[in-house]
Symmetry: C2
Subunit: 690 residues, 2 copies
């Protein structure tokens, strides 16, 4: 072989060349097409690199650019700092949007027993829990100014397992946030346009697809995008409630007309405590999204914690007022939920107060729909981010940690969109069907996070004044949310909570198993003793079907990497005549290596071949068995079906045999293209390097 000259360290771009006389050496600077040299041994690809060369590839690339946008360099990652005004819009959208369905879900349960009069007491009870949670989370914000999600709080205070439980609960919740918010958003639209009702699943999936694309493009939670819809919703709904209360006060409350021609729910169930608890559980969906603020503390303008705390209180106040107002007015009007789920309670309320099809009715419904879609979008920010944290901690596959071309966590976004679409489809786009799955996880995460805070205060007792009452507040929060969790778990068990209660342990086990695997790989692959090339003796086994160019190329390659007496060509056949013919052709050719023919009476090919490889490995335990497979690479994709099936099967089987190196020696068919000379790279007679 050539190039015996001294090797110049770390400079791939220089190459030692040897002249015709010994000692006559010089150095040539190579410039690599498509790359810029940044320093010693450091290259950077130029813009042109990686552009697809085929027309189809270019078309696909153009479509991708249109949908997703041009790639963004890592340096463009930015952190927007938020004012209180924008912060409220971003972090409260998830929580405030649940006012669109919380009252309705309480009423849907109560109407079964004809007990709609209990709506107000239950609403008040839920607002009381909300107050406890808001108070409790004030502490979390104070203690975790860098972001205090349930996973982080539970893991750092309670340990890995509770942290994983919280993570599993959160992951589940994010998926359900997407499904429920989108379903409710579509319901807000079908209230206006009943013709859309038939296509609600398709509409929901379409909304999720748009969110998915938008997030792959890298929509950041930009205050500008969020501020509009959130404040429009707040103004529209407060205006509506104010108008309704004024009508009530002046005794002008209009007469309520139920949704037309859609049957009437019969009050067939007795009013039991379990039913009341079920109504309470349904309504407690109102607390979803509270955690968002404590997750996002670092995004606020300084003083971050102070601003976040204020926003949390504001959110609780706004949401509580709307929730209370809707429940109250719906009760005063005597609104009954539409059994077909075609028109929402909010739409019925609005329609009754301001008139069906009036511009204000449209305003309220559209604002609700847009806000709900934005709420789903917060899950598209939260899920991939949590997944990337879990991947960094090695509880999820590495792919979740990888930022795509637009700096978004593509894997997490696509997975979330997929799971959300599945839920919307399976539960037929019905908010009521989805609710029982939702709240268990939310309250589990709350409970773990608040319990973690109790321990946190206990540990910090030396540094923190008043740790006792702080711990008491969080303890009370943990107890309250824990109680709600149990209530939800029991009262909604048969309605779907069981799915989540079954899924959560499975998820925890999966996260744990992935972690174990990565740990094991890490410890097993830490290099201790270097493997030196002098100890490696490749012994090549070379399966051939005939003596065509692919086989001859592979043989030539094998002879270039191993001595002739360590290479064996192998042919498997059940046909004695064919065997004799090949043997004769081989002896005519005299390639310089040995040919072993294996008789296969049962016409199997890969079985005997693999057995032979195993036998060679067993008889030569100190050699590195190298299987060189000649492959024919056709020019069209469909032609692949006509070739290499056996090669594929052999490669798949060899993957699981320890210590066997597989070499693919491809032969490319020219395929009629003028450029593709089939022998490229095989022409030999070492030009550049001589």
């Amino acid at each position: 072989m050539v190039d015996e000259g001294p090797w110049i360290s770390d400079l791939e771009e220089k190459e030692t060349l040897q002249g015709s006389r010994p000692g006559n050496r010089y150095v040539r600077i190579l410039s690599y097409p498509g790359f810029r040299r940044l320093g010693a041994g450091l290259l950077a690809p130029r813009e042109s690199v990686g552009r697809p060369s085929t027309p189809l590839g270019r078309a696909l690339e153009a479509l991708k650019r249109l949908l997703i946008g041009s790639p963004l360099p890592s340096s463009q990652e930015l952190q927007e700092r938020l004012t209180k005004f924008k912060g409220l819009a971003i972090f409260a959208s998830d929580n405030i949007s649940s006012s669109a369905y919380a009252s309705e879900e309480i009423m849907r349960v109560l109407v079964l027993a004809g007990a709609l009069s209990l709506t107000m007491p239950i609403t008040l009870a839920i607002i009381a829990v909300l107050a406890v949670v808001v108070l409790s989370y004030q502490q979390t914000i104070r203690s975790y100014p860098t972001g205090g999600g349930s996973y982080i709080v539970a893991r750092s205070n309670l340990g890995v397992l509770p942290g994983l439980v919280a993570a599993a609960a959160l992951l589940t919740d994010y998926v359900l946030t997407v499904a429920v918010s989108i379903a409710a958003g579509v319901a807000a639209l079908t209230s206006l346009f009943p013709a859309l009702f038939e296509f609600r699943v398709a509409a929901g999936v379409a909304f999720i697809a748009v969110l998915c694309l938008g997030n792959l493009r890298g929509i950041r939670e930009s205050g500008t995008i969020f501020a509009g819809p959130t404040y429009i919703y707040l103004f529209a709904i407060f205006g509506l409630l104010g108008y309704g209360l004024w009508q009530l006060a002046t005794g002008n409350l209009p007469h309520y007309l139920p949704s037309p021609e859609r049957g009437h729910q019969t009050a067939g169930e007795p009013l039991t405590i379990l039913l009341a608890l079920r109504a309470f559980s349904s309504g407690s969906v109102a607390l979803t999204g509270v955690e968002a603020v404590s997750n996002g503390v670092p995004a606020f303008n300084p003083p971050e914690a102070r601003n976040a705390q204020l926003v949390l209180v504001l959110m609780g106040t706004f949401f509580g007022s709307i929730f209370l107002g809707i429940s109250f007015l719906a009760g005063q009007l005597g609104v009954v939920p539409d059994p077909s789920e075609q028109e929402t309670v909010v739409s019925q309320l609005t329609r009754t107060l301001v008139g069906d099809g009036s511009p204000y009715h449209y305003l309220v419904q559209f604002a609700t729909a847009v806000l709900l879609v934005l709420a789903a979008n917060t899950a598209f920010a939260g899920f991939p981010r949590l997944a990337s944290i879990l991947a960094k901690d090695r509880f999820l596959p590495r792919q979740f940690q990888f930022r795509g071309e637009r700096l978004a966590f593509s894997t997490g976004i696509i997975l979330l969109a997929f799971l959300g679409s599945v839920l919307v489809t399976v539960f037929e786009g019905s908010v009521t069907n989805l609710i029982p799955l939702y709240t268990v996880g939310v309250f589990l995460a709350f409970t773990l996070s608040q319990s973690g805070m109790v321990l946190h205060w206990f540990r910090e007792r030396a540094h923190e004044g008043g740790w006792r009452w702080r711990a008491a507040i969080n303890g009370f929060g943990a107890a309250a949310t824990g109680l709600v969790m149990i209530v939800v778990g029991i009262s909604k068990f048969a309605l779907g909570a069981w799915i989540v209660m079954l899924l959560m342990p499975v998820l925890v086990v999966v996260l744990w198993a992935i972690h174990q695997h990565y740990e094991r790989v890490e410890s097993a692959t830490v290099a201790e003793t270097p493997v030196v090339p002098e100890l490696i003796h490749p012994r090549v086994v070379l399966p051939i079907a005939n003596l065509g160019i692919p086989a001859r190329q592979a043989i030539a390659f094998a002879r270039a990497i191993a001595p002739d007496n360590r290479i064996t060509a192998v042919h498997v056949s059940d046909d004695p005549e064919e065997r004799a013919q090949l043997r004769r052709a081989w002896e005519d050719w005299q390639p310089g290596i040995q040919l072993v023919i294996i008789d296969s009476p049962y016409r199997m090919l890969s079985g005997p071949l693999l057995a032979y490889v195993a036998a060679v490995q067993q008889t030569h335990p100190y050699d590195t068995i190298t299987v060189a497979i000649p492959e024919l690479v056709p020019s069209h994709w469909w032609e692949h079906l006509l070739h290499n099936q056996t090669a594929l099967r052999i490669k798949a089987a060899l993957l699981f045999r320890p210590g066997i190196v597989v070499v693919n020696v491809p032969y490319h068919l020219a395929g009629g293209s003028a450029s593709g000379a089939p022998h490229d790279g095989w022409r030999g007679a070492g030009g550049a390097s001589r």
Copy 2:
């Protein structure tokens, strides 16, 4: 490297060993575990070879053995010679079984115009065509004693394209034979057990699955299996017809009771010529299976041609009599087809003549069902055999030519079962829905075959006396079947014949394209100039993610197959800190090869890497670029999801780059098993070969 001693030709089982002193050489006989030595360079695997080693693998293997049986060696292929008695049973079953539905299909069309009285004239017309075809095929049998299928006759006389058209027609027909026969067989059973009707699609698919398994096991068309059902059917049905005619003659014909409570077809259509032609087309399904005899001439006892001719005439006579008898008696009784397709006409006829639920009714129905399943089985013999002939002629992928463990053409059998099941499912197990697709292909094949015979006689005119009248007979046959084909094509076009008429050219193009591909590969891979290893200079590019054992192993292997200055490790990263860290670790390690780091500002991995490989290839046009990929092979299948995603993508992309050799250097995780020492084969210090 070791082993520089002279190489001993053709004896893999001997190995040259070199002692410590130069010239001190001896030869060691190696015995390969699991193999027997048959001769110089020829091995045969022992029985134990290829047995699965994992519990799951053993369980799957046991299940396979249970379903399919033990493998059969190629030597066990046998040719059963058939008597006329058994030959009739085997080759006539397909044709005779169509008497179970031929009359009914005529009546189903005529009843639309209330013109059931036309059943007899149309039956007679079809029998006339049958007579012409039988006469015509007498000649084919005489001229092609080694088997005269339409494909062979058309190809050898008319050329490749007509041959392919005939082949496409036959392949389609075999699939439809399976679907129609199974559907009719299930209908014979639902006539007895109406409760089964609901599950007719499932029952049909189950029958096909049983046939598929049976044929994979390698049921040969054994005369013993066939003789029973065929003759039982003949006796049962002739007995029935005789009894009916006797009742008619004695004036005791019982009163016909239509199928109960299944509505009544209204005769809404006018009686047009098109309708009569449609009835004729439906009935001409009776001619399917005539070709079987001429296909199977070599299977008869000598004199083969004579015996086959006799069997063909007998078949025509038997079938014609049954067909005529059923049509006649159905007309006399006034049988009306059941619009719901729940009870067949034959069942109504039998029930009326011998009494509902009488043992004779059961006998006729079961005999019909079994015969129809056997008829489907003839397609399971014919389709794979034709596909294997086409594969041998390179019009279908090689896989069709391969005989499985039990000597059956597995690929063709499985494909046929799949397509048949699809048809039964799509057409909801209805014979009437399937019939329009069936007959076009049958008559196309007839026409091509008979036209081919005309040319055959013209070419043989020197050697064959009376070639004129022989050509005339075949010419008349071709004209008659061609006319029927046109009638069927037009009258059944909208009912489904268009599907086949569309499919056939597509199939021909596919067959042709496959042939072109194989021809091109053949001519492109014929070895002209040998590639000599001295001209091959591997230049290794080695992507690494870190300096763990997998990377170090791959580097050591690369250094064993190429000089150090022709190996470059490549690392792609967007993180300057990580890059610096790797560079430092590399410099500490000093592996003796160069490391190039590529900055990837857009976080892409495979793109820059592939661009780098392309750049190396461009700057070193006379080297063989070899990409060595370190791979981590985990011990459980699910762990694969956590690894090698990038390696897979790189390998897939490299497959389409001409001239690049890919080397997989696997590192197997021990996976907790005691036996798997992870460094097997890498321990080095060449033991056996020193």
